[in-house]
């Protein structure tokens, strides 16, 4: 096991990305709610430097500008729940945060940590997918700040794996402001309301005008190696009147397009049934909204 040789707690984003640029490997520490259990279970290979980014004030907070909502990577789940912009515009994200772990964990767990941990069951990831979020990645090669944005849908590669380079820090996410009549839903199925990892989760977003759906987004969690957009389900809904027949077709498409696995929380068969029934339930609710 590599030993930690250095502990570093930068106060600015520049210092943090300079540190990542150094050779030798860095473990980034935010809230620590994933890192600590992973370290204790021996599942984390600590790098030579442990870099605590929690002191970088500019990475925490929510702002609206130019028709986009920017959320800093260090914004906690509790911050999101208490933020008026998030409450008003991003209903799926609020719903996901509401059923996230426990109060004690929500108080420290960061949005950036949830994204970078890249669990297929990470609760905020499905809402971010349906909200068309982009991740903002920062690095500093040769002393120059380099920022790149990537759609969340392209960010996840597998469990715990993302397209973030080791020299990059996640600065936050950017979400286009949903229109006034936007409808957003999130549903997480677990065996108890708190401290439960999702058996499956479903996110929905779209506009219902004159009974017809448009700009439909559907995404699922815990049914594949990464959280996924559900393109067939979206196609079964886009531009159609939200009738019982449409809902039935979309729920069937949802069941057919997911490829879950058997694990301790549920069998693949049960997950497919859940996806079918809960997609139907969400759409029923939307139809009557």
């Amino acid at each position: 096991m590599t030993e930690i040789e250095r502990y570093y707690a930068p106060a600015s984003l520049e210092q943090a990305v300079d540190c990542l640029q150094e050779a030798g490997g860095v473990t980034v520490l935010a809230g620590g709610t994933d890192l600590m259990p992973q370290k204790n279970a021996g599942r984390l290979k600590p790098q030579r430097t442990l870099m605590n980014i929690r002191g970088i004030a500019e990475l925490r907070g929510v702002e609206l500008s130019g028709g986009e909502i920017r959320i800093g990577a260090l914004t906690t789940i509790t911050d999101l729940l208490e933020n008026p912009l998030v409450r008003q515009h991003l209903p799926q994200l609020i719903e996901a945060c509401n059923h996230f772990a426990s109060d004690q964990i929500r108080n420290v767990a960061t949005l950036g940590g949830n994204i970078c941990n890249a669990s297929p069951a990470g609760d905020t990831l499905v809402p971010l997918l349906v909200l068309d979020a982009r991740v903002d990645l920062v690095s500093r090669p040769e002393g120059r700040m380099l920022r790149r944005g990537l759609p969340v849908a392209e960010f996840f590669v597998g469990p715990g794996k993302t397209r973030k380079a080791p020299t990059e820090l996640l600065a936050g996410v950017t979400i286009p402001l949903p229109p006034e009549n936007y409808l957003g839903r999130f549903f997480k199925f677990g065996t108890r309301p708190a401290l439960d990892i999702a058996t499956i989760s479903i996110g929905f977003g779209g506009i219902l005008e004159g009974g017809v759906l448009s700009r439909v987004r559907v995404a699922f969690g815990a049914v594949a190696a990464t959280p996924v957009r559900a393109s067939h389900t979206e196609a079964a809904l886009e531009g159609r009147p939200l009738t019982e027949a449409t809902i039935a077709a979309a729920a069937a498409a949802a069941r057919d397009e997911v490829t879950p696995i058997d694990d301790v929380r549920a069998s693949a068969w049960y997950r497919k049934e859940l996806i079918h029934n809960m997609t139907k339930r969400i759409l029923d609710h939307v139809a009557h909204a």
Binding site: E3, I4, N52, D103, L195
Partner: protein, 161 residues
């Protein structure tokens, strides 16, 4: 040998220095390095809430926090909550737990009190429903929770002894 690091923080109102292993939890630091054993080790993985403390005014699981991250912060443990006679809320909570029989074996009690005091700081008149949600991260194997919720509600309503 793991790397050691010096930190400087406020513990229960008193400035304090400690030398800690960089990969150590705040819980281990409190119990083993500093010797304050009021904060309990239940699961070590964020599930039970027995290790709940308050840092910069919010409650968290000390078993998930890196001790080095205490540097520069205000840390309050059950010893600080109990000792703070200036806080009428803390003594009201203590009395209400006794009065309502909210303590049996007592293992969950320090964590429950720390979380309850955080909840009442945020929502001074929290009702039973929101208190139940607020202590979702605290397990109690003895009481069945009802007496704990009753005690916290009573303090919130200001009707505790």
């Amino acid at each position: 040998m793991s790397l050691m690091h010096d930190i400087d923080f406020t513990l229960n109102g008193v400035r304090r220095r400690a030398t800690v292993r960089v990969d150590m939890s705040a819980l281990d630091m409190l119990r083993e390095t500093i010797g304050l054993t009021g904060t309990k080790y239940g699961c070590g993985e964020g599930e039970c809430g027995a290790c709940t403390i308050q840092v910069d005014g919010v409650s968290l699981n000390s078993c998930l926090m890196f001790a080095v991250d205490c540097h520069g912060r205000q840390v309050v443990t059950i010893e600080g909550l109990g000792a703070d006679e200036a806080s009428t809320r803390a003594s009201a909570l203590r009395d209400a737990f006794v009065e309502h029989g909210a303590v049996q074996c007592g293992f969950c009690t320090p964590g429950m009190m720390m979380q309850a005091s955080h909840l009442l700081d945020r929502h001074p008149h929290a009702d039973a429903e929101s208190i139940k949600r607020g202590i979702e991260g605290n397990l109690c194997r003895c009481t069945g929770y009802k007496k704990i919720v009753d005690a916290i509600v009573a303090v919130g309503e200001g009707i505790a002894p």
